[in-house]
């Protein structure tokens, strides 16, 4: 077929390899191409966005779900940092500030709550739960590293 004696199958394989490398262009160009092929890009994208959101929301990797897991197990956790959720708002804020010093400003959550005055009690409790969880994980990691 050519001066390099590509077989028919070699040619098809090379073409397939080339097509895998194609840069499909900008999102607008991609959507325009999908329309040309008879698809509704809005509908396709929205559906997957919704599926992805649901999966991410329910994921055990989501910190909100980890917080829930923590709440279920918190009775078993030997927490020297804070007491039960029945503690006062001032106690919770004090515990958060101590944990913030321990963990540093690395967590996403603390960045959102620099001024605790405007934060509802419920959110403070949730924030403390997550920070306690992270502190416990950090302690476990340090313990493992020491072993």
């Amino acid at each position: 077929m050519s001066n390099h004696e590509l077989t028919d199958r070699d040619f098809l394989n090379a073409l397939a390899k080339l097509i895998k490398e194609v840069d499909l262009g900008s999102p607008d160009e991609i959507d325009a191409e999908l329309r040309t092929l008879g698809y509704d890009p809005e509908s396709l994208g929205n559906k997957m966005e919704s599926i992805a959101k649901e999966l991410l929301d329910k994921s055990p990797h989501n910190w909100r779900n980890k917080g829930q897991e923590l709440e279920e197990k918190r009775e078993k956790i030997d927490s020297s940092v804070s007491g039960p959720f029945s503690q006062t708002r001032d106690d919770i804020i004090a515990a958060i500030q101590r944990l913030r010093e321990q963990l540093g400003e690395v967590t996403l959550v603390t960045a959102h709550y620099r001024n605790f005055e405007d934060v509802p009690d419920e959110d403070l409790s949730s924030l403390l739960a997550e920070m306690e969880f992270l502190a416990k994980e950090q302690n476990m990691t340090n313990d493992s590293a020491d072993e």
Partner: protein, 206 residues
């Protein structure tokens, strides 16, 4: 999956990712269909959407493990799609072989008489008459696909040039084809998209 990877997955635009993956899948499914001689036609109905949804779901639940330290998400997702389409293509090819073997007895095939090439093959290998028949059929189907592509690009000089570059042995990557044809890489990408669009619209064995 670690927290950092999960947070990066949360920050992605899954609308855009999905649409890019569907277009990518449409193109590569068509190319696999060429490679299989048109017997493994995957680019129909909701199959493309199913493939992409499968890959995205497995990524989000951690069954398919993306490692951000090893590279960006989109190329990795495309590799995952390629892998799924490859598996489906192989499965479809196997189904065809099984069907053929069930439909025809070896006596039927032998009664037709082997070709001259088959004598040579039988002499040197353990190829069965059924396998030989399949090989001959595959070669014919592949040739039909090549003819289909050549027909598709005929009288379209910018597409013919790309095909000729491949036939000339050019490394099958857009940047090498662009260099050989002395045009921009974007131009080659656009030509290849046009080729895929034409192939999908015209169909192969529809």
């Amino acid at each position: 999956m670690d927290d950092s990877t999960f947070q990066q997955l949360q920050q992605q635009d899954w609308h855009k990712i999905n649409n890019e993956l569907i277009l990518h899948t449409a193109y590569i499914a068509k190319s696999y269909s060429w490679q299989s001689g048109g017997t493994a036609e995957l680019a129909k109905g909701s199959t493309l959407k199913d493939i992409v949804q499968h890959v995205i779901e497995k990524t989000l639940n951690g069954d398919r493990k993306w490692d951000p330290d090893k590279g960006p998400l989109m190329p990795w997702l495309k590799d995952q799609v390629n892998s799924v389409v490859d598996a489906l293509y192989k499965s479809a090819t196997n189904r065809r072989e099984v069907r053929l073997r069930e439909d025809e007895s070896s006596t039927d095939i032998l009664e037709r008489g082997p070709t001259q090439a088959s004598h040579l093959l039988f002499a040197d290998t353990q190829v069965t008459p059924e396998e030989l028949l399949l090989a001959e059929e595959d070669a014919l189907l592949v040739k039909q696909q090549v003819d289909f592509i050549l027909d598709l690009v005929s009288n379209k000089p910018e597409l013919e040039d790309v095909v000729l570059a491949i036939l000339d042995g050019c490394e099958p990557k857009p940047r090498f084809i662009a260099k050989q044809l002395d045009v921009e890489v974007k131009e080659i990408n656009n030509r290849l998209k046009r080729l895929c669009r034409l192939a999908i619209k015209e169909g192969t064995y529809e």
